[in-house]
């Protein structure tokens, strides 16, 4: 349906463009701009659809590129790396113009991404980096993010401020790139601050129920716990529930794509703070990189661009109605 709609829109656009150019003064970049997107295909291969990040990126890319006549194809491996590799392999033989890929880990797609570039396809990586650098990377700087979070924990919980200095970390899956890099950043900071004590560092497998059980036990063991930082807001809903049930004053610092649900939770007091890599902004970055690649037409793999996303630390104080974003149907 959407594709049909896109085609109709593109056709309408093309028609109006034609009509307009006949009358007005020509903008010399205009025709080449639209020409460079004609009949182009962009394939999006996320880790899985159905989560706010990937839905947000998909929506952003679509709204930016579909009006230009670009076909967007989405392959959904549903959190299955092997299926993702299969999808990527078949995409390489189908030869879209650009592949936007969301890596499940640093390695699994590395060799396939190189093959894709060799086959003449531009590859843009989103948010999770592969060991192999491609034309562009758009996403959070996780090591830097870890450092910032670590520093934030120090600021919040330092005994100098009268706090206990006890903090806990709830990771997602231990082996995910986001987890590894962030932990590296957090550890770098905490190593410089021996007064901050990491009392629990557990993985909850991105599962809210597990996160809740871990948090409940940790709080119960350390009633003076100062802060918990979790690696995904969806999972930290469980952590928040555990904190609420315990009745203790534990600061919950979470992170995520900044979906409206996050702001709602901050407003409701479930989360105290969230580190947000703005998903619509990332989507715009992706779309811009794609536009650039399609216009400049460099040799695939020749240009290695990195666009780190600006991070925002949202709290109830600095939040307003426009801070978070919503999906079209939300």
């Amino acid at each position: 349906m959407r594709r049909i709609k896109a085609i109709i829109m593109a056709a309408a656009l093309a028609a109006t463009t034609g009509a307009v150019t006949a009358q007005d003064i020509e903008d010399p970049t205009r025709a080449p701009y639209y020409d460079s997107f004609k009949d182009k295909t962009v394939a999006f291969l996320p880790v899985s659809m159905g989560i706010d990040l990937t839905e947000g990126w998909a929506a952003g890319i679509k709204s930016a590129l579909e009006p230009l006549g670009v076909t967007i194809e989405i392959r959904d491996p549903n959190f299955n790396t092997a299926a993702g590799a299969q999808a990527l392999t078949s995409l390489i033989s189908e030869k879209p113009d650009v592949i936007v890929v969301h890596n499940p880990d640093v390695q699994s797609y590395a060799r396939l991404l190189r093959r894709a570039e060799e086959a003449g396809i531009y590859v843009v990586q989103v948010n999770m980096r592969s060991a192999y650098s491609t034309d562009a990377f758009v996403g959070a700087d996780y090591v830097g993010m870890g450092r910032q979070i670590g520093q934030r924990l120090v600021d919040l919980c330092s005994p100098d401020n009268g706090k206990s200095g006890k903090v806990a970390v709830t990771q997602g899956v231990l082996t995910a790139a986001a987890s590894i890099y962030q932990m590296k950043g957090i550890n770098e900071v905490l190593n410089d601050h021996p007064e901050i004590q990491l009392v629990s560092n557990q993985a909850a497998d991105w599962d809210a129920t597990k996160a809740k059980n871990i948090a409940a036990t940790v709080i119960q063991q350390h009633p003076d716990l100062c802060a918990i930082t979790g690696f995904w807001d969806v999972m930290d809903v469980g952590t928040a529930a555990a904190i609420k049930e315990s009745g203790q004053d534990v600061y919950l610092l979470t992170q995520g794509g900044g979906n409206q649900a996050t702001c709602d939770a901050i407003a409701a007091g479930s989360f105290d703070e969230s580190v947000v890599y703005n998903v619509p902004g990332q989507a715009r970055d992706i779309a811009n990189i794609i536009k650039q690649l399609l216009q400049l037409k460099p040799e695939p793999g020749a240009m290695k661009t990195t666009l780190f996303t600006q991070l925002e630390f949202i709290t109830a104080d600095n939040m307003d109605s426009g801070t978070c974003w919503k999906l079209p149907g939300q």
């Binding site: 899985s48 659809m49 159905g50 194809e73 989405i74 392959r75 959904d76 491996p77 549903n78 959190f79 299955n80 790396t81 092997a82 299926a83 590799a85 299969q86 999808a87 392999t89 078949s90 033989s93 499940p104 880990d105 640093v106 390695q107 699994s108 797609y109 590395a110 060799r111 396939l112 060991a131 899956v173 231990l174 082996t175 995910a176 590894i180």
Partner: protein, 704 residues
């Protein structure tokens, strides 16, 4: 009337009804439904995506299939032995990470990496095998726990090595070969998998250990009781499964070179789905390499196709679930109903029109009399089913017994008897060859020889397979009667290729030419079929010209003569076209004529039914076998005829007291000895005008 008859005759001659039942009773028909599902999936996807089976796509697809199929084979081996191995997904991941760590971090040479990886898989398999095989833990639970443990070990390895693996570039062509290389354009993993599948197939179908695995899965208790080392067998299946899973992981590592956290997660369920789609059953006993391959292709195409079509994940799962339902439901119903269907459609009557039978009233040559009344009885109640009888030079009687023995009654009074030889099957036709060794047709076993030293030797139990026959007709199912030519060749009849020994009356219901005559040549020890499509060929007796023999076709009610040598070689002539009953054995008489046993007398109702195949088919399908209309075998007689087919003499037992049925008779020194397959006695009748010194042996082989 005549027209409908002709139509019916052509209808049943042209349409091979019997093939349906024969096809359905083949072992490979078990694979039909999985194969159909596979074809349906292939058609659906090539329709939905015309380039899905294009060359480049196929190449990618097959490479992944090779890895996946190894896992399905691994699971199949365990399932066939009655277990289940849920840990294969984790073992796959372990193989992947171990191979990567060994090559990238430890820097081992390729051969050592392969060995090390396989050893890891074997170790996991061995743990499973020791626990499930030797300690008798429950397979499902045990492998569920090893799944969790191995997965955790993989995660720990990942934490330690994933960064090192990611940052190392592996500079080794041999490392990339398994994942990216090809053999004559076919991906290496596919070649490897096919070779392994063939090996597994051969092991399961042709080796002792393979049969032991199948037996263990079929019934562990029985396997244990017949002395199969069940525990070792079960343990071995898990070790093999672990090795195969690790090998699959190695291929995956070589192809993608990535160690992800979710590598192999849920693969056990995919593999289980594939195994079941292929028709391997949980709980053991039913499974093969072919089934595993079919199932893995189906599952692979389905999952890949749905991803490639860009179906949203939800619709993808929904369709996968629905297909699994449908496939398993069809398979379950198929297995459940197959034998019912076979038992209904296997009996496929043909059209047969017998000539009008001659009467048995006083004008007829077959007029009923009481000539068998003065018979004396031998071994009454001591013997069960003497189908054929033969006497040696010392006048001892040899006959077959239902218990699988050749019995010898001692001359002269035949009060004493002994088991001459225990042959293990039902002895039917008997004959002495030139050396005085006893040749025996044994139902269900074939042609055997009992030497004078009572040694039992198999002469033949198979003949040449006819190419167009659906049923495997190379095995001898029902060797019936035999005779020996002067040059030592043995001609014997096989009554039917469609039924086992105990179902022989059912063959009469069909009245199709299911039987054949087979020649065994002792000089070359070869066997070949001489005449086929005979209606229950039964008695065989050499004519005196040394170039031909007479044979009886029971359901055709004829006696014919076949020339195997001489100017008329290869021709068949009907000698008696219209017997009033069903002929059985033929033997020589002292005056150069021949004795013929009629095992039963035709009835008008069955004669009519033979012209109505549809009626008989409905009967076979709708009512219990006990109620079927069978050929009458309650009353019989002995007929003497000459080489031209003229009936010379007929002997009846009108009351049916001494010989309720007659299947054979043998003349010896002025007496006629009479046997019957359902009798518990042998009859002895003094012949008035016979040559008192004539013996069958002398007639065949001269004075010895």
């Amino acid at each position: 009337m005549a027209l409908t008859d002709t139509l019916t005759r052509w209808r049943y001659r042209l349409v091979p009804d019997h093939l349906v039942g024969e096809v359905l009773s083949k072992r490979w028909i078990d694979n039909a439904i999985p194969l159909l599902i596979l074809l349906a999936v292939v058609c659906a996807f090539s329709f939905a995506m015309p380039d899905f089976f294009g060359p480049s796509s196929i190449s990618d697809l097959t490479r992944q299939w090779g890895e996946f199929s190894l896992l399905v084979l691994a699971l199949m081996i365990v399932m066939v032995a009655g277990g289940i191995d849920l840990s294969i997904g984790s073992t796959f991941a372990l193989g992947n990470i171990v191979a990567l760590a060994l090559i990238a971090v430890a820097g081992w040479p390729m051969w050592a990496v392969v060995l090390g990886t396989l050893a890891c898989g074997a170790a996991v398999g061995l743990v499973n095998g020791l626990l499930v095989g030797y300690l008798r833990l429950r397979a499902f639970l045990t492998t569920l726990v090893t799944l969790i443990i191995v997965r955790a070990v993989v995660d720990m390895l990942l934490l330690n090595y994933s960064v090192a693996i990611a940052s190392t570039f592996i500079d080794s062509d041999s490392w990339y070969y398994p994942g990216e290389g090809s053999v004559f354009g076919v991906p290496f993993s596919v070649v490897l998998t096919i070779i392994l599948a063939i090996i597994i197939h051969l092991v399961f179908s042709r080796s002792r250990i393979g049969w032991q695995v199948l037996a263990t899965g079929g019934s562990r208790r029985s396997a244990h009781n017949v002395g199969i080392p069940v525990r070792r067998v079960v343990c071995a299946t898990y070790v093999v499964s672990g090795v195969l899973a690790a090998l699959s992981g190695l291929l995956f590592a070589s192809r993608l070179g990535g160690a992800g956290a979710d590598t192999g997660v849920g693969l056990e369920i995919m593999a289980l789905t594939a195994a079941v789609l292929g028709g391997n059953s949980l709980g053991g006993g039913r499974g093969s390499a072919a089934k595993a391959i079919i199932g893995s292709i189906t599952a692979m195409i389905m999952v890949n196709g749905l991803i490639r079509m860009g179906v949203p994940a939800g619709a993808n799962s929904l369709m996968l679930g629905l297909v699994l339902f449908t496939a398993v439901a069809i398979d379950v119903r198929w297995i459940k109903n197959l034998h019912k269907v076979v038992s209904k459609v296997y009996v496929s009557p043909a059209y047969a029109s017998l000539p009008k039978p001659p009467g048995t009233d006083s004008y007829s040559p077959y007029a009923v009399n009481d000539k068998l009344a003065p018979v004396t009885l031998i071994g009454l109640g001591e013997i069960d089913g003497p189908e054929d009888i033969i006497l040696d030079d010392d006048d001892n009687i040899y006959t077959g017994n239902r218990t699988g023995d050749v019995i010898r009654f001692f001359a002269p009074d035949y009060k004493q008897h002994e088991v001459y030889a225990h042959v293990g099957g039902r002895p039917l036709g008997l004959a002495f060859d030139k050396n005085g060794d006893l040749l025996v047709c044994i139902g269900g076993m074939g042609l055997y020889r009992v030497t004078k030293d009572r040694e039992i030797e198999k002469l033949t139990d198979e003949t040449n397979r006819s190419w167009l026959s659906v049923i495997d007709d190379s095995r001898l199912r029902l060797a019936d009667d035999l005779d020996v030519a002067l040059d030592g060749r043995v001609f014997f009849s096989e009554a039917t290729v469609r039924y086992e020994m105990h179902e022989w009356p059912v063959d009469g219901l069909e009245s199709r030419g299911n039987g054949r005559i087979i020649c065994y040549d002792p000089s070359s020890k070869s066997t070949h079929t001489v005449l086929r499509n005979l209606k229950f060929p039964n008695g065989i007796c050499m004519a005196h010209d040394g170039q031909s023999f007479f044979f009886a076709e029971t359901w055709a009610c004829t006696v014919s003569r076949y020339w195997f040598d001489g100017p008329k070689k290869g021709t068949v002539e009907t000698v008696i076209p219209d017997l009033p009953g069903y002929p059985d054995n033929i033997n020589r008489a002292s005056d150069g004529t021949f004795w013929l046993a009629l095992v039963g007398i035709r009835t008008p109702s069955l004669d009519l039914a033979l012209k109505m195949p549809g009626f008989r088919r409905r009967m076979a399908r709708r009512i219990a076998p006990d109620e079927w209309l069978y050929p009458n075998i309650n009353t019989g007689c002995i007929v003497r005829f000459d080489a031209t087919g003229t009936i010379l003499d007929v002997m009846w037992d009108r009351g049916g007291e001494n010989h309720p049925m007659i299947t054979s008779m043998r003349e010896h020194k002025g007496y006629l000895y009479i046997g019957g397959i359902l009798n518990n006695r042998i009859g002895k009748l003094k012949l008035k005008s016979a040559d008192k010194s004539w013996t069958g042996l002398a007639s065949y082989w001269g004075q010895s």
